[in-house]
Amino acid sequence: MKKMHVVLLVLIAISIVVLISYTGDLSSYETVASAKQKEGKFVNLIVKMDKSIPVDYDPVKDPNLLKFHVQDSLGGKIAVVYHNTMPTDMEKSERLVLKGKVQGEVFECSSIVMKCPSKYKDNPNAMQEQPVTITN
């Protein structure tokens, strides 16, 4: 089994190298404040929408431009630019995970993951609210 042991060691070594090099690509979850300090670095922000400022999206002018404002749990605020269509129900989602980087004053976002009250499966907490239709 000698040769096989060599093969095994080589393969395991490659796997370890792959995983280590993968850790180099990993990003991190940041707050708005810490993301601003790491300007230009790819980060993940967990935020909610800042509804005091209206969302700027007009598919007639440019369907690939969405501007909105967000706020993190520490109160840090930042403007976000997203070069894509406005995701459905973005305004209703309770939490957004934004991926991208801070460029100057804005967060250049490359993808948005929404956490809706009931994103994919029913959520027991959201269900606890009595449906409007049967209130009387």
Binding site: M4, V18, N44, P59, D62, N84, N136
Partner: protein, 812 residues
């Protein structure tokens, strides 16, 4: 307890279901115990007795599970919304087939489905018990123990404060705290359920979960054989387990790819695979299972790879449990778009995982010294050497994928905040492409190698023609299709080319092997067919993904002043969305696309009719992407539509739409204008530059056309061209309107007022509700059919193999 009598409730089916769930739990416990007793019996008599009892218990259990299944379906089918499961997963308007999807939308239903398949498979194993060798009682013991654990997921018992499982038969009023539910006549107000999530209202979602869960359930059987083998220090179970393992690999693989087909047709990430944790979690056990099948074959021929076989066949089941834990515990949270929601059963799910992982590895290491393999070294030219290498590559590839997928678990344990990399899909692709290359080549040459040793002369003689044909075919592929994926640099592009050659080699070599060496005999075709299918899948993935092109690159309506180069944008500006206005033809690469109309189907579904006209020919086709009002998210979810050609798919989906249900009440305002004049509209001015008479040289004889060449300049300084006109065809006069979409303007050329002075009348209409508009993405996937066909071929191959091995077992 309150003593209110509630009106209109159907309590009996729920009570029956509740009882059946508990009965199945108890029966499974009895069956596990009795099979264990039979397995460890010293005398034949006691074995027979215990076996008899065990069988009865198992049949009761299986019948309870199947009945439970039917009762739950009865609740959904009859819209008994007093039950929470029916209320939260279905509604009255759903067509019959989606009532099945409701069944497995929730965790409880899908556990029940899983358990259902165990019952069916267990009954098959039990009725053909003689075939599977003397460890059969041990195998049944393990299957029943898995059933015990699954039953705890749906009993919904409270043991002190610990909630054991979550019953699908629970009443709405027991679970919810709405004030209205205390009224005796509350059911009058709960007339309809909240419905099935719209993304699941797709025919793939009717069929994908049952197939995938059959795949999950069938990994239990090789695992059960392995456990029984370890317990009895008896390694002669491989022949009995192989038909099951190959059946499982076939069904499991099919189930995974049905999920991919669902993602392709119903989800909007624009593809069939996104390396989402949920997808990875099902792929990984399959990879390990396939590795295990191959080491199992090596063991049967040579007696080596025994430990690897125990490890892989065991792990494939354990990884199914791990993926269950990942997808159902809510731990994936932010990293996955489609995991189940946390039902508060994390501790139980973790327990379910550990109760198998710890004993299995304990047993495995305890028995390690008994797992004897021949000490002789495998020849480097032998088939078994390379089969083992291939299995190890598959296994390590699985390890890498699951390690990456487990980052949220790592975060949870160590409190770290590690997030996925910038391009998570590429992080996987750049590794797995090399796995694909190695596996492609090994799949090609594997069969040409002989067990023990291969003579170089023979090998070269046999492989020569497949190599030549591969070279030719690859050249044809590169010449006619090519690989257009330069985003990730020359190195990755090179790897993609090598990958295509390797996959082609796999297809060709296996086809040759079957024709030339096996003489095309159907009986021995299983391996060749399976391998051809697998390498077709690889080829289909490589070609379709690397040549995916965006047809909807947005070039319209954007100011030249603001146009920023896509390449300069820090986030790699996708600009993949294009806006279409109803009735306005839009340029999209090879096609002119018109959004013709939309129709409402029922209350919730809106179809958009899109006409794709090929520029080079008269060929045109219609596509109907739709949006469905999403009952669970109060928005809409879009369903893509695609046009299938033999060599490509045109794939389109709506990313947003504006609904102008109110009538457009604005009308055209007439203006008199001469060449050089300007008139104002609310957001700028319009200038008439010129009048063109018959500008189209190709116009048919007898037609006369007058076209106004106008420039619209907005306040922001954007300039748009507009060309309204009149077309006189014989006696009929057609007005040709022109729209400046970005300015909500419609211009018409009404008439010539004074020919001498050159005064014309134009109409100007400004309306926010100008036209309906939709924003969409359009992709072209070339040769995606190779992928789908490959899956079918691969599944057939696995089934042939399972059948052939079953027959062999019979004849023994």
């Amino acid at each position: 307890m309150n003593t209110t009598t509630f009106i209109g409730e159907h309590l009996l089916p729920g009570q029956i279901g509740y009882f059946l769930a508990i009965l199945s739990f108890v029966a499974a416990l009895v069956a596990t115990f009795s099979f264990a007793k039979a397995f460890y019996s010293q005398t034949i008599e006691s074995e027979i007795q215990w076996n008899k009892l065990a069988k009865i218990a198992f049949v009761i259990e299986a019948v309870s599970i199947v009945s439970c299944f039917l009762v739950l379906f009865y609740l959904i089918y009859n819209h008994l919304f007093e039950y929470k499961y029916a209320y939260s997963h279905s509604d009255i308007s759903l067509p019959f087939q989606y009532l099945l999807s409701c069944f497995w939308e929730g965790q409880e239903g899908s556990f029940l489905l899983w358990s259902f398949w165990h019952s069916v498979l267990g009954l098959i194993v039990m009725t053909k018990a003689k075939k599977w060798g003397k460890n059969i009682n041990g195998v049944m013991m393990v299957i029943n123990f898995v059933q015990v654990c699954l039953a705890t997921m749906i009993v919904g018992l409270y043991i002190f404060d610990f909630k054991l499982g979550s019953s699908p038969f629970i009443l709405l009023r027991h679970e919810m705290t709405w004030p209205i539910l205390s009224r005796p006549d509350y059911l009058q107000f709960v007339k309809d359920g909240t419905g099935l999530n719209t993304t699941l209202q797709n025919y793939w979602m009717v069929i994908h979960p049952p197939v995938l869960f059959l795949g999950f359930a069938s990994t239990t059987i090789p695992f059960a054989f392995a456990v029984a083998g370890l317990l009895k220090k008896d390694n002669n179970w491989m022949d009995s387990a192989l038909p099951w393992a190959t059946f499982s690999a076939g069904i499991f693989g099919l189930g995974i790819m049905m999920g991919a087909a669902w993602a392709y047709e119903s989800l909007n990430f624009g593809g069939y695979w996104a390396w989402d944790p949920v997808e990875n979690a099902s792929l990984v056990p399959w990879l390990v299972l396939v590795a295990g099948i191959h080491t199992c074959l090596v063991y049967r021929k040579k007696g080596t790879s025994l430990k690897a076989t125990y490890l892989f066949l065991g792990l494939s089941f354990l990884l199914v449990l791990y993926s269950t834990f990942l997808t159902r515990s809510g731990i994936l949270g932010d990293t996955s778009v489609h995991a189940f929601t946390d039902l508060g059963m994390n501790a139980q799910l973790l327990g379910y995982l550990l109760i198998f992982v710890i004993p299995y590895f304990g047993l495995f290491f305890y028995r390690l010294k008994d797992l004897k393999e021949p000490q002789e070294e495998d020849e480097i030219s032998s088939r078994e050497f390379w089969m083992l290498v291939g299995s190890l590559v598959l296994f390590l590839s699985a390890v890498v994928i699951i390690a990456i997928t487990s980052i949220p678990v790592f975060n949870k344990i160590f409190g770290t905040k590690i997030a996925p990399p910038e391009d998570p899909a590429f992080a996987h692709n750049q590794v797995q492409i090399f796995v694909a290359i190695i596996i492609g080549i090994l799949t090609a040459i594997g069969q040409y190698l002989k067990f023990k040793a291969t003579s170089a002369e023979n090998f070269i003689k046999n492989i020569k023609w497949p190599l030549i044909v591969t070279a030719l075919l690859s050249a044809i592929i590169f010449y006619f299709i090519g690989i257009a994926y330069e985003e990730k640099g020359i190195g990755y592009l090179g790897a993609l080319y090598v990958g295509v050659v390797a996959a082609t080699f796999g297809i060709v070599a296996n086809a040759f092997y079957w024709f030339n060496i096996l003489k095309g005999k159907l009986k021995s075709a299983a391996a060749s067919v399976g391998h051809i299918g697998f390498t077709m899948v690889l080829l289909g993935i490589l070609i379709s993904s690397s040549n995916k092109t965006v047809l909807s690159w947005n070039t319209t309506g954007i100011s030249p002043l603001k146009e920023d180069n896509a390449k300069n944008n820090p986030t790699g500006n996708p600009r993949e969305n294009i806006t279409l206005f109803e009735g306005v033809e839009t340029d999209m690469g090879k096609y002119m696309v018109t959004y013709q109309r939309d129709t409402l189907d029922g209350l919730d579904k809106r179809f958009f009719e899109l006409n794709f006209k090929e520029k080079k020919s008269d060929h045109s086709f219609l596509l109907y992407p739709d949006v469905l009002k999403n009952n669970k998210m109060e928005g809409f979810s879009a369903n893509p539509s695609s046009k299938h050609y033999w060599n490509k798919d045109i794939f389109v989906y709506v990313t947003s739409f504006q609904d102008h249900s109110e009538e457009d009440t604005t009308s055209f305002k007439p203006h008199q204008i001469a060449i050089g004049d300007t008139i104002f509209y609310s957001n700028g001015y319009i200038k008439l530059d010129n009048v063109l008479i018959n500008p189209n040289p190709n116009a048919a004889a007898g037609t006369n056309e007058l076209v106004l060449q106008m420039t619209v300049t907005s306040k922001e300084g954007l300039k748009f061209e507009a060309k309204p006109g009149i077309l006189l065809e014989g006696m009929t006069l057609n007005q040709e309107l022109d729209t400046v979409k970005a300015q909500n303007l419609v211009l018409s050329f009404n008439k010539v007022v004074d020919q001498k002075k050159g005064i014309l009348e134009i109409g100007v209409k400004e309306s926010a509700a100008l036209t309906n508009l939709i924003t969409l993405k359009v992709y072209e996937f070339p040769f995606i059919n190779i992928l789908w066909l490959g899956i079918i071929v691969m599944t057939i191959g696995f089934m042939m193999s399972s059948y052939a091995r079953l027959k062999k077992l019979k004849s023994k």
